[in-house]
């Protein structure tokens, strides 16, 4: 089991529904977010290109945040989901520094927080809140070990990229381009 998220940048309109859905699903306090939208504009008028996409923790296979965590609060569970155990987190912030995606933040209660791939939903066979709400249906979630899963099919048939590949983190969030 290797969970992955595939996001189609050709369909994403950058509406931020994924951000609000995550906040209300996971009780993320207003002012903080576990996922966010980036906008990249290229070219000059009228030859312009625009890429919108939803970003979050990449649930890396080679996760620097897990390696640098002094207490073991940051860990990887079955399926490759990277989690933080709030009770074990001392809020030292080493993981925040180590993450090339800037995906972690200090929760007002002191511990470090980030995207969990909504594993509480995934356990029940549901998709993460962001995926389930996206009005453009541009996000897909599934198992890369299953060659017939939607995510496997998409990565087989479409051009894609990952973020900061030079960091060697082996991320599990893929962007269709």
């Amino acid at each position: 089991m290797r969970y992955a998220m595939v996001i189609d940048t050709l369909k994403c309109v950058g509406c931020s529904d994924c951000v609000v859905a995550c906040q209300t699903e996971n009780n993320v306090p207003v002012g903080y977010c576990r996922d966010w939208i980036t906008e990249v504009v290229d070219g000059s008028y009228p030859n312009v290109e625009l890429e919108l996409k939803s970003e979050r923790c990449n649930h890396c296979e080679n996760a620097p945040c897990v390696r640098c965590c002094p207490t073991g609060a940051s860990h990887i569970i079955d399926g490759g989901i990277v989690l933080v155990t709030p009770e074990e987190c001392i809020g030292c912030g080493a993981c925040i520094e180590s993450c090339p995606y800037d995906a972690r933040f200090q929760h007002p209660e002191g511990y470090v927080d980030k995207c969990t791939f909504c594993h509480h939903r995934v356990e029940k066979g549901q998709s993460p809140a962001c995926v389930s709400v996206c009005p453009t249906n541009c996000m897909y979630f599934g198992d890369l070990d299953d060659p017939n899963s939607e995510v496997s099919n998409l990565l087989r048939n479409r051009k894609f990229k990952t973020l900061a590949p030079e960091a060697g983190t082996k991320p599990h969030v893929y962007y269709l381009i």
């Binding site: 609000v20 209300t24 008028y45």
Partner: protein, 745 residues
């Protein structure tokens, strides 16, 4: 210095503690969302059927409440054809409408203390008694018609019933003459029917979608956004015409960066190509349309070369895109747009779009426009409404094809004028923040100043509440029942809204307010129910279902009864125009003294040093109503001024720099706005998202953030056909020095 009897009240209301309306209201009430939810809790949630009220799309949803009875999340209803289980960010963030501690909390009554006007808190009894007394006095002196209702959304429906029962049909909403009115009139004059809402565009099956200034993806008209995404998956061609590189433009095969205000020239040249290259749907036109010969003659000289000089779109691009449309036809949609009040000839531009669709044979075809259907919700029994001597029709009679009340005409009729046979003396405003939706603030303030009485009902202390004599705190849509949503779609459906939580503070549902005022005016017979749920229950039973069923499902689909969604091949079909045909040439318009076929007219251009002010939508906000919503404000708390890098160089503007705007009439923006230097905008225009620049300090998150585009719109080009107010002909200069520096603000 201000002797106005209805000066805008910016300060906190007096009353218990003096802080109830102030910025420190937080903590006075038991529910504090700021403390809420640190970790995902395992509290079991219960769900209640509702439909969204953050915008007009009205997606059916489930409101989830926790063990304390608070709404914590909203999820789309999976069987609802408006959202297919997926709300947009505003719908998902609708919970912020409920949790916002800046909400109106108690009824307020304008009062004067030490020569200064302020609000005092009042009981509902007191506020409603005062409204009934004032309505009675004004009605006796000037007739009930002189009391006008300006409204939007569900609360407006309840008040409309109250007003009609009172004998007033002086009812209008900015959604018509400030928004989609021209396209309804333009399409009615061509196909005999309105486009309506939601638009019956068959986007999911289209092969070519043409957007003209319509920015799907930035407007989150849910079904349209979802289906555009489906169309992208299917490989449909998208053509976007916009001076701005919109999100939709970035998804398009063709982006035509048109010179603003020249759209009709492009549309006419597309007609020219379709007709003179023999690409139009001959069989369809022969069978269903009237006036093809006249149209052919009319567009003879409107070649792409002619249009190039006007629109700056290259002739080969005009030809290529016209051929793309023809290749896809009839599975092609030239989208009617929604906010179409641009330059004053908007009905004619909408006519051009309608005619283009007719040439492509897309109306009534798969992948074009389907024939929509809805189910009638039976009227809950009440006595006949009394006759009215005059109403919105008479106020708008200057505009022969106005099909709804024109808000700006109601405003004009409120300014005393001995020649006006229809004087308006009082307003009730509900669910619409007219200071942000109505252009020409000076005129609006003059009208408000002249009124004998003004009531505003809203959930939030929107700017408009500052002008009221009485402010009523309405419960949010998550705390009240409202009328059944009967959707016009591919298949008819109904959805219900039931209260998911108890009203916070001392807020009350709109239906209750209407009933209470009605009873005080001796109109109890019109409100023969204890609770609005009784009405819904009765109506659902008449429709062969029950409240119990809808509590369980939220939405119920009904089978179509009007036949196929599409024209069958060679089917005889009568359109609802007077000729029964699609009218390419409109005798109706001709007889009224208007152009029977659209003509391109040159519109004013920005003078040197000025830029055309364009405005639009951000996906996480609806008009001005969501600017203070904690969840949505968190995503976007201010608008920015989009400026082309060339302009930025000339004016020495940097990204993030604070600037002020001054328009062609010398109107200076109240607040500043941060510059966004971007290649996504033409050098002759600037752009901002609508709905920011709030002046009311009670909106603690939104006040003073960004510029209110509507404030900068003082020049209005009125559509002579239906009274729409064209608002895209305003020009601004950019000030990098604070013009208010020496002035107290």
């Amino acid at each position: 210095m201000d002797k106005s009897r209805r000066s805008f009240i910016r300060i906190s209301a007096l009353g218990a503690g003096g802080v109830a309306m102030g910025t420190t209201g937080l903590g006075l009430y038991p529910v504090s969302f700021d403390d809420m939810g640190v970790k995902a809790s395992a509290v079991p949630l219960t769900r209640t059927a509702t439909y969204c009220e953050v915008c007009f799309w009205k997606c059916a949803a489930w409101a989830y409440t926790d063990d304390k009875g608070d709404v914590v999340k909203l999820i789309g209803n999976e069987i609802d054809p408006h959202c297919y289980g997926r709300l947009c960010p505003r719908g998902t963030g609708g919970v912020g409408m409920y949790s916002d501690n800046d909400r109106l909390k108690k009824p307020l009554i304008r009062t004067e203390i030490d020569g200064e006007q302020t609000f005092r808190e009042a009981t509902w009894e007191e506020a409603l008694d005062l409204i009934a007394k004032k309505f009675t006095e004004i009605s006796q002196a000037h007739g009930p018609e002189s009391i006008a209702l300006l409204k939007h959304g569900s609360p407006g429906k309840h008040l409309e019933h109250l007003f009609k029962a009172m004998g007033s049909d002086t009812i209008a909403e900015p959604a018509y003459a400030q928004c989609r009115g021209p396209r309804e009139t333009g399409f009615a004059a061509t196909f005999g029917s309105w486009v309506g809402s939601p638009e019956p565009t068959d986007i999911r099956d289209t092969r070519c979608l043409v957007l003209i200034g319509s920015h799907i993806g930035e407007n989150m008209h849910n079904t349209q956004v979802q289906e555009m995404s489906d169309a992208i998956d299917q490989g449909a061609t998208i053509i976007t015409v916009d001076p701005r590189f919109s999100t939709a433009a970035s998804k398009s095969k063709y982006w035509l960066p048109i010179k603003p205000a020249t759209d009709i020239a492009l549309l006419l040249s597309w007609m020219h190509v379709l007709i003179y290259e023999d690409l139009y749907d001959k069989e369809y036109i022969d069978k269903y349309a009237l006036g093809f010969r006249q149209l052919k003659d009319h567009v003879r000289t409107f070649t792409p070369e002619w249009a190039y000089g006007i629109t700056k779109i290259k002739p080969q691009d005009i030809r290529r895109t016209a051929r793309e449309m023809a290749n896809a036809a009839p599975a092609v949609i030239v989208h009617p747009g929604r906010h179409v009040t641009w330059y004053g000839d908007d009905t004619q531009r909408s006519r051009s779009i309608a005619i283009l669709n007719a040439l492509l044979g897309s109306w009534g075809r798969r992948g074009g426009f389907y024939f929509k259907e809805s189910i009638k919700v039976p009227k809950y029994p009440h006595p006949e409404y009394p006759d009215h001597k005059w109403g919105w029709k008479e106020l708008g009679k200057k505009y022969p094809l106005a099909q709804m009340g024109i808000t700006t005409e109601v405003i004009k009729a409120s300014i005393p004028n001995p020649d006006n046979p229809y004087p308006v003396k009082a307003w009730m405003v509900a669910g619409t923040n007219i200071t942000k939706s109505i252009p020409n603030k000076k005129l609006l303030e003059e009208a408000i100043e002249s009124l004998d009485f003004m009531v505003v009902m809203d959930t939030m202390p929107m700017d408009v509440t500052g002008y009221a004599d009485v402010v009523l705190p309405e419960a949010t849509y998550l705390e009240r029942a409202d009328g059944i949503r009967s959707a016009t779609n591919r298949e008819p459906s109904v959805a219900v809204r039931l209260p998911a939580a108890k009203p916070r503070f001392d807020s009350k549902p709109g239906w209750w307010v209407a009933k209470q005022i009605g009873e005080r005016l001796g109109l109890s017979d019109y409100f023969d129910y204890e609770d609005y749920e009784d009405v819904i229950k009765w109506q659902l039973e008449q429709m062969g279902t029950s409240l119990a069923e809808l509590e369980r499902t939220g939405v119920k689909m009904y089978p179509r009864k009007s036949g196929s969604m599409y024209l069958e091949k060679g089917e005889a079909y009568e359109f609802s125009t007077s000729s029964g045909k699609i009218e390419l040439y409109s005798q109706e318009l001709k007889d009224l003294g208007f152009d029977p076929m659209p003509v391109y007219i040159k519109h004013p251009e920005p003078p040197a040093g000025y830029y055309r002010l364009n405005y639009g939508r951000a996906p996480m906000h609806t008009f001005s109503r969501t600017a203070n919503n904690p969840n949505l404000n968190d995503l976007k708390d201010e608008n920015r001024l989009w400026v082309n890098p060339k302009v930025a160089r000339i004016l020495d503007l940097r990204n993030g720099q604070e600037v002020w705007l001054k328009n062609q009439d010398g109107v200076i923006s109240d607040f500043s706005i941060k510059v966004r230097v971007t290649e996504r905008i033409r050098w002759d225009s600037v752009y901002m998202v609508h709905g920011f620049g709030h002046t009311n300090k009670k909106l603690t998150r939104a006040v003073g953030k960004g510029i209110n585009d509507t404030q900068m719109i003082s020049s209005v080009a009125v559509d002579p056909i239906m009274g729409g107010t064209g608002m895209r002909g305003n020009f601004v200069s950019i000030l990098s020095e604070n013009p208010h520096k020496t002035v107290e603000i």
